[in-house]
Every structure is written in C-alpha cells, then in structure tokens.
C-alpha cells in the first residue's frame, strides 16, 4: 500500500514538473496517433463514401471485409505489418521497421476500417435523405459525395475521435512494429507495459493518468460535438 502511495506521489510529480522522459513519450504518442488518424481519415472517409454510394462488383465483399477488419486484434495487425516491413518482407527494403513511421502505418491500418465503416453507415443514411434533392439540384456523383461528407461532418468528427481513442490506447501493434525503443519508438502504452514489468510503477502510473485524461478528453469532445450538432439541428 505504501509503495503504491509513493508511486502515485511520484507520478503526480512527474506530471506537474513536465518530466522530460514523460513529455518525450507523450509527444511521440500524440504525434504517431494523430498522424495515423489523419491518414486513416484521408483514406477511410472517401472509402466509406464509395461503399455507401457507388454500386460496383465486389462492393458487398468489400463491405463485409471492412467490417470484419474492425474486429482484428491490434497485436495480429502488428504481426502482419511486421511481416511486410521486416527485412525479408516485401517492403523490407524501405527500412521502416522499428521507426515511428511503421507505427503510424500500423495504427492507420488499425482504425481505417472503423472510420470507413462508420462513414459508410452515416453517408448511406444521409443519401436516403438527400439523394433526390441532390439529383434534382443537378449534383453529379462526386459533388454529391462531397456534399454528403460535409452534411455528416459532426458524426464523422465523432468517428475520428473514436478512431483516435482506439489508436491512442492500443499497445499490441505499436509494440511489435515499433519495438519500444527508448527515445525512438517508445509511446505511452508500450512504456506502461515495460515500466510495469520492471516494477517502475511511478512512470507507468503517470502515463496511465495521462492516457485516462486523454480518454476523458475524447469522450467530452464527443459529447460536445453531439450537443452542438443537436443545437444546429444537424444531428
């Protein structure tokens, strides 16, 4: 019990004093996860719109695949990315394994299916509401897709937050492709796993508290977005 209290005190001090090791890890985590979220959005939202609006052979197959990939455990995804990026793998020549770039790739692939699936659901719903109007006004398919993405902006922003939250909290994928190298690829979740294993509870606890705060922040932002959307009657 005493040990715990001491760890908690130390953790708070690390946070309040902006301990350089702690800040370094947090900054890297945020950079990796934010990059992955942006990339996943750039790919996933158009993919979602395509799945919702276009009719092409294999669409149903792709839809099922995307939904199935949502359930892929991060550690398995990490393994697959590892195989591709490892020296013997098809993209091994890029030398990306154990770099933040590899971690960004892994997290992008992790949340891409989530964003695509949520976006396609949202846009399909909007298409039912606006399909006739947009055709009546003379919008072509690309213009219509862009309009529907914008009409769904609040729900899609919520989806982005969901993706960000999932990526920020996952440990399996970044551990495997990043390697948890100090000052290079160590992020909050991998650091917690390592420090706890070594019995260094203070740093682990401090990072844990930051992660919890991040999670709460994402949740609050989600609720705020929903409230704003309702007020503008845009829900």
């Amino acid at each position: 019990m005493d040990e715990l209290a001491q760890a908690a005190r130390l953790a708070l001090r690390l946070i309040t004093e902006f301990d350089s090791a702690l800040v370094d890890i947090i900054a890297r985590s945020l950079l990796v996860t934010a990059s992955a979220t942006v990339l996943a959005a750039a790919l996933g939202l158009p993919l979602g719109a395509l799945l919702a609006l276009a009719r092409f052979p294999g669409r149903q197959m792709l839809l099922v695949t995307v939904h199935a990939l949502m359930a892929l455990p991060p550690v398995v995804l990490g393994l697959l990315v590892y195989l591709v990026l490892s020296r013997a793998g098809p993209l091994g020549f890029l030398g990306l394994l154990y770099t933040p770039t590899a971690m960004i790739i892994a997290q992008t692939l992790l949340i891409l299916p989530i964003l695509a699936a949520l976006a396609s659901q949202q846009i399909e719903e909007l298409a039912r509401e606006y399909g006739e109007l947009l055709r009546s006004l003379g919008a072509g398919p690309w213009h219509a897709a862009a309009t529907l993405l914008w009409e769904g902006r609040f729900a899609l922003a919520t989806a982005l937050l969901t993706g960000f939250g999932r990526a920020a909290g996952e440990v399996g994928a970044v551990m495997i492709v990043g390697g948890n190298i100090d000052r290079a690829t160590r992020v909050m979740t991998t650091a917690i796993a390592l420090e706890t294993g070594r019995g260094q509870l203070a740093l682990a606890l401090a990072l844990g508290l930051v992660l919890i705060a991040l999670g709460v922040g994402v949740t609050v932002a989600t609720f705020g977005l929903r409230a704003l959307a309702r007020r503008l009657s845009a829900a």
Binding site: E129, Y130, L137, R153
Partner: protein, 232 residues
C-alpha cells in the same frame, strides 16, 4: 436559351415490382398557365412529377420536351422540405452554384422575396415547418427555373403557412415560371389552378380548364372526388 415547353407526353407509364403505378398518360403541357395535378392519395401524382423531373425513368411511353436537358431549367419542391445542414443563405447558394451561378445577390433577392432575409444566417433545419418550405421555394426560385414542380408543398403546413406558400407560388408564376403542382386539397386547387389534370388509379382521367372541371366534372371518379367521397 430555347424553352423546354411545350412538352408532349404520350403513353407514359411506370411499373415497379410487377405493379403498374401509372399507365397511358398523355397530355400537352404549355407554358404560362398553372397546372394542378389533382387526385386522391395513391393516384400517382408524386410519381408523375418525378417522371417529369427525370428523377425516375418511365417504363413506357415518351416525354418530348422542346429543348434538351430539361432538368437544368426545372426545380422541384418536395412535400417535406429537404434542407442541408447549413445556414439558410448557404442552402440557396448551394443550389445556385450547381447551376453555375455564383452570385450572392441572387441569394439576397430570393430571401427578400420569401420574407426570409432576417433568418439568412440561421441554421436551416431549426426553422419552423412553414419557414423551411419558404426556404425550399426560395432555393427553387433563385435558380429562375422555367418550370417549377411542387409536390403537395403545403400538406404539412398550418393555414397561415399555407397562405404564405401560395402567395410565393403566385409570385413565382407572375414572374414568368410555369407551375405544375400536385395537391389533394380542393380549396387550394380552386385557388391556384388554371387547368386541372385529374389522376385516378394511375390514369389521367381528365385534363381541362379549372373552371370547367370544377363546374362540371366529366368523369364519375372526379365527381365523387369533388363531393368528398374519396374514391379508391
């Protein structure tokens, strides 16, 4: 630009799922007068408008417009106004841009004509039902259509909002736009119609000047409809 009217419709029909919803519709639609498509629920009124607007393709017959690309100079106002999740003014501007007109002055003009100027910056979807339908009319008017199709535009509105919509429709007509409107409201048909197309069970039963139609309907179905015995 050459005019899309007159329109000649011949043998127009639409079937879906093995069911014939419209059949053998033939009429000529001329510019100018206000044409009201009248008939009970399920007669095929909305369907006819959607066929005219090109939202759905007929499964039989033909529509011959006097100029190509008729949809570009038409506007359709739906029974339930469909508004984008953005401001009142932005809703109108959006429609104008799609017609290749980037002129904010047209937005102001449309807002002023429909009494919505004070609401220009409000989110469109927080407006009242009547205001939303006025916005849908403003959006249609801003594009200066040659033909305005209205699908039961006042079905969900109270009497005051209905009157406002009817006044705007009259103003749009006075400015030179051909009006084709569906309704099952007899009072409204009497107020607005120059000619009546009476639909019954997917067929065009009568197409006559409004005064003649209301004074002496030729068909049994129309007589029953006017008496209020909604025939099915």
């Amino acid at each position: 630009m050459s005019a899309i009217l007159p329109l000649t419709v011949e043998g127009l029909g639409f079937a879906a799922g093995g069911e014939t919803l419209l059949a053998g519709i033939g009429f000529a639609l001329r510019a100018g007068m206000r044409s009201v498509v009248l008939g009970p629920n399920g007669a095929g009124k909305s369907l006819l408008l959607r066929l005219l607007h090109g939202l759905i393709r007929p499964t039989a017959g033909s529509m011959r417009w006097s100029a190509p690309e008729p949809a570009r100079v038409q506007a359709l106002v739906f029974q339930r106004p469909v508004l984008l999740r953005r401001s009142v003014a932005a809703n109108i501007y959006y429609a104008l841009e799609l017609r290749g007109v980037s002129d904010a002055g047209r937005v102001d003009e449309a807002l002023a004509r429909t009494g919505l100027t004070a609401l220009a910056d409000r989110p469109a979807r927080v407006l009242s039902g009547g205001e939303q339908q006025r916005l849908a009319l403003a959006r249609a008017w801003a594009t200066r259509p040659e033909l305005l199709l209205l699908d039961e535009p006042t079905a969900n509105l109270d009497p005051a909002a209905t009157r406002a919509v009817e006044e705007i429709v009259a103003a749009i007509h006075a400015a030179g736009t051909k009006i084709v409107m569906t309704t099952h409201d007899l009072g409204q048909a009497r107020r607005l119609a120059d000619e009546v197309l009476f639909l019954h069970r997917g067929r065009l039963v009568e197409h006559r000047p409004a005064t003649e139609f209301f004074a002496a309907p030729a068909s049994e179905a129309a007589r029953a409809f006017l008496k209020g015995d909604l025939p099915w």
